[in-house]
Subunit: 311 residues, 2 copies
């Protein structure tokens, strides 16, 4: 990972109308982390919709950046809509989409090795389809079963009825149907030369106010078995930033990352050398994290809607 140089203390802009205006004027694009910034769980923060409206009214490009790999962009747009946030599919950038872009446009796979073996849910499948990337695994019920003595023999023999010779990529995202067979197959594909990718490496997933296994936990057995890390396509991986830039063609110096987590969101913006990073105190990181931590945002606010004070 790139080492981010520690900069000076961030500026606190809540209530500072002139400072806010000056800050907003510096950027054309705002990349938003969502949970902890726009909402928490199922609770939309007051002023979120108005703040996004203000930005759009002033000609800013808004991008919603999420590591959630179980949802496609279309699914995610429905989620935003359900919370009352207007958005378009084009404004959404998820780790499953990022992974699909990386596979279809960046990885140079040999003609006969273009298939992806997926560990994950339907969101990944939909995004691979949107980029015309062939895949196996995923939600296919054929993989949701116990391993059998036959499987061991067939896998050891490289039998094509269980190991597809066209698989050139293993993509691991969050999979609520994770099992022994899936891990064994992923391991053998990678040992046979497949590229090891992860939609993201968040070890945990917030749900119902506590934590559950995240996509990173699905990669963990493979990392241990292979003694090898996957290329990760979610925040804070710069492969995701490259994919976002590739799509929106923005000037990084005129872009700002907004997030609640110093070590993922803010680090993502800093390592991506964006012109700005904005921390909000409505999520995981504390004022202390922003002011004295390793990944300090350029500015921080009590809450996102404090941006409305710029008017």
């Amino acid at each position: 990972m790139t080492q981010v140089s520690v900069q000076g203390a961030p500026r606190y802009l809540t209530g500072d109308k002139a400072g806010l205006k000056e800050f907003l004027d510096k950027f054309d694009v705002f990349l938003f982390d969502c949970d902890g910034v726009l909402w928490s769980g199922d609770h939309l923060f007051p002023g979120t919709v108005e703040t996004l409206e203000l930005l759009r009214k002033n000609g800013k490009q808004v991008v919603f950046v999420t590591n959630n790999s179980t949802k496609s962009r279309a699914d995610y747009r429905k989620k935003l809509e359900g919370l009352g946030i207007p958005s378009t599919v084009e404004e959404i950038f998820s780790s499953s989409y990022s992974s699909s872009i990386y596979i279809s446009r960046i990885l140079k796979l040999p003609e006969n090795k273009r298939k992806v073996y997926v560990i994950g849910e339907t969101g990944i499948e939909q995004e691979l389809q949107s980029e015309n990337v062939p895949f196996i695994g995923g939600t296919d019920p054929a993989y949701r079963r116990d391993v059998t003595p036959e499987d061991y023999k067939k896998i050891a023999a490289g039998d094509e009825s269980i190991l597809d010779p066209e698989v050139g990529v293993v993509l691991v995202g969050l999979d609520f149907h994770m099992n022994y067979l899936k891990i064994a197959l992923a391991y053998h594909y990678i040992k046979r030369g497949a590229v090891f990718l992860a939609t993201n490496i968040d070890s945990t997933l917030p749900n119902s106010g506590t934590l559950f296994p995240g996509a990173g936990s699905m990669s963990a057995p493979l990392i241990m078995m292979l003694n090898k890390e996957p290329v990760a396509l979610g925040k804070p991986s710069q492969a995701m930033m490259d994919a976002i830039e590739g799509k929106f063609q923005f000037d990084r110096s005129r872009a700002c990352m907004v997030g609640d987590r110093a070590n993922t969101d803010i680090r993502f913006g800093l390592e991506g050398k964006l012109g700005g990073t904005l921390g909000v105190l409505t999520g995981v990181s504390s004022k202390e994290d922003f002011v004295s931590g390793d990944s300090k945002p350029h500015v921080y606010l009590d809450k996102l809607s404090d941006l409305l004070e710029s008017e």
Copy 2:
């Protein structure tokens, strides 16, 4: 882990009748790794039975030490018998038995926290039963299912219908029915204070001439989520050596570990300060590993049955 001091080059004893005799005379107890030493897969090495006979005839105590946690000692004895090796249950020491001993005799659990949440197969359950340790999980079909939205809420709320308040230990072994729910439950038990144990941390499991996910891969998601390592009860963990010593009451200086893997078997004997370690070249480690590696055995042989040349 204890740092093992690098000693001189090991002595090569194949064909050296006097050297073999002198070596054997030094020990009363021989601890045997099995696969790669006595057999490979389903193939018994020629001379294995005769070599064990020779040792027994000379009054040596023989102990079979295995990290395989899916089998109980009784199961393992049947396996030995099936391969033509006479043995008794008392001569067998498996990581599931080692774990049960550790839980019942070494861990001092509060009265109301004595239950073990098991990730693993029947071998672990049988050994817990043999030590009268209460447990849940394991092969119970109630845990072999998909996670539901209800589960998240109940787990978050600490609902006793899903999180047993008497669980004070999480024991993770090889589980061919590993799933998302099991990992989520293990995580929450440990977060609530349960002791995190692993039968062993082998990342892979040899089968059909290749490798499959091992018990260590079952712990990997939890290690990543918790940022915490389990206490491991298999080789090369000295918790297993302590359990073996506790049972057989031998003099370590008069005991010898026999194995094919320098970094597990030989290291296990060296860190346990046994009087001797014997490497054989019928398994994983090469002559190079034994002669120049970090964990050098005291002596090594081409194959175990070379011990017969001492007669």
